[in-house]
């Protein structure tokens, strides 16, 4: 049997196997918090070759969720073939493949397929509810994580898995961390509110209009490949998401008292 590892990210278990031991060792070392022994939901085979080059003009179809429940995509560094019927994914690429890019692409496509998505966002668990903070680089995602170190659980400072479950949305930790470093607990919780961050010299907020919230999610979601079918699917997902949760534009001073403001806003 090839070297392999099982990782639980959000609700999905990925079993990643490769003839090449290096990416597996890297995952074992860096994604320890996410290692699982449960039955795999997706079997991922890495086929890595020295000197692999993107095959231009191959028969790979454009990425689509609608074609035979299969997702095919080519990136600059690897090809993905995800077969949702058989719960299998094959990744072809070079020996020095960026395993983090592969994992985010797989995780993202599986979440999108299931009505969720991967978001450039930090997330914090407080009193069993999660709070999601998103925005472009420098908007304060990691700052919000650092300001939540007291009696809260930091799910992630960089990449949040959004999962739809029983009609509501939950935010989960991921191993795709930013400056804050690897999270200590692989957990998640039902989302209380979502915040588009803007650093400011005072606290204030604006309730985002559904259209603006959907637009901002399109800009911040991690989407490995967009085709009209995927974009249409995401329109549905983002519309449901923004229709069921309060989405605020949050202007904040980077001070711990930001949580008093958030508590007042969401009580």
């Amino acid at each position: 049997m090839n070297p392999n590892i099982k990782l639980k990210i959000a609700k999905n278990i990925f079993r990643i196997s490769s003839e090449n031991r290096r990416p597996i060792l890297w995952l074992e070392k860096n994604y320890q918090t996410f290692v699982s022994n449960a039955k795999a939901d997706l079997e991922v085979s890495l086929h890595l070759e020295k000197g692999w080059k993107k095959k231009r003009g191959t028969s790979l179809a454009p990425p689509s969720l609608r074609q035979n429940n299969r997702f095919l995509s080519q990136t600059r560094f690897f090809d993905i073939d995800m077969d949702f019927n058989n719960r299998k994914a094959v990744i072809s690429g070079s020996e020095d493949i960026g395993i983090v890019s592969v994992m985010t692409a797989l995780c993202s496509m599986l979440l999108i397929k299931e009505g969720g998505f991967l978001l450039h966002a930090s997330a914090v668990l407080k009193d069993n509810f999660s709070y999601v903070f998103f925005g472009p680089s420098g908007s304060g995602k990691t700052t919000m994580a650092r300001l939540s170190e007291d009696n809260k659980i930091i799910l992630t400072d960089e990449t949040t898995a959004i999962v739809r479950s029983n009609g509501s949305y939950h935010a989960y930790a991921t191993p795709f961390s930013g400056d804050y470093g690897m999270v200590k607990k692989n957990t998640g919780g039902k989302i209380k509110a979502v915040f588009l961050l803007k650093k400011d010299d005072r606290f204030r907020h604006v309730l985002l209009k559904p259209r603006d919230a959907v637009r901002q999610l399109f800009c911040s979601a991690m989407i490995p490949a967009v085709d009209p079918g995927i974009a249409d699917h995401l329109f549905n997902t983002f519309s449901k998401f923004t229709g069921s949760l309060p989405c605020y534009e949050l202007y904040f001073k980077p001070q711990p008292s930001v949580w008093r403001y958030i508590d007042g806003l969401t009580k």
Binding site: K209, P210, R211, V214, R215, F218, C219, I223, V226, D227, P228, G229, I230, A231, D232, F235, S239
Partner: protein, 92 residues
Amino acid sequence: MDLLNSFIKRNDDIAWRIIDEEALVVDSKDSLIYPLNTVGSRIWELLDGKRPCSEIVDTISEEFEGEKESIKDDVLNFLEHLLEKGLAKECA
């Protein structure tokens, strides 16, 4: 091109949705999202390729306030932008 008498339609590769009377248009080729205002959204809705652009100018003039000549210029300008960006195309 005599734009006023042309039939223009939305490109099939484009995903779009009208939310709160305003359209969001996603171009999957370059993953760009275009938010349209109320007038742009109405024009976008009318771009089914079944009417000449002159009819679109007439509809917009009836539904929105403004000098017809100025509305005509704005509509044609907007359509030129859509064609330029590949978001819409002229029907054969």
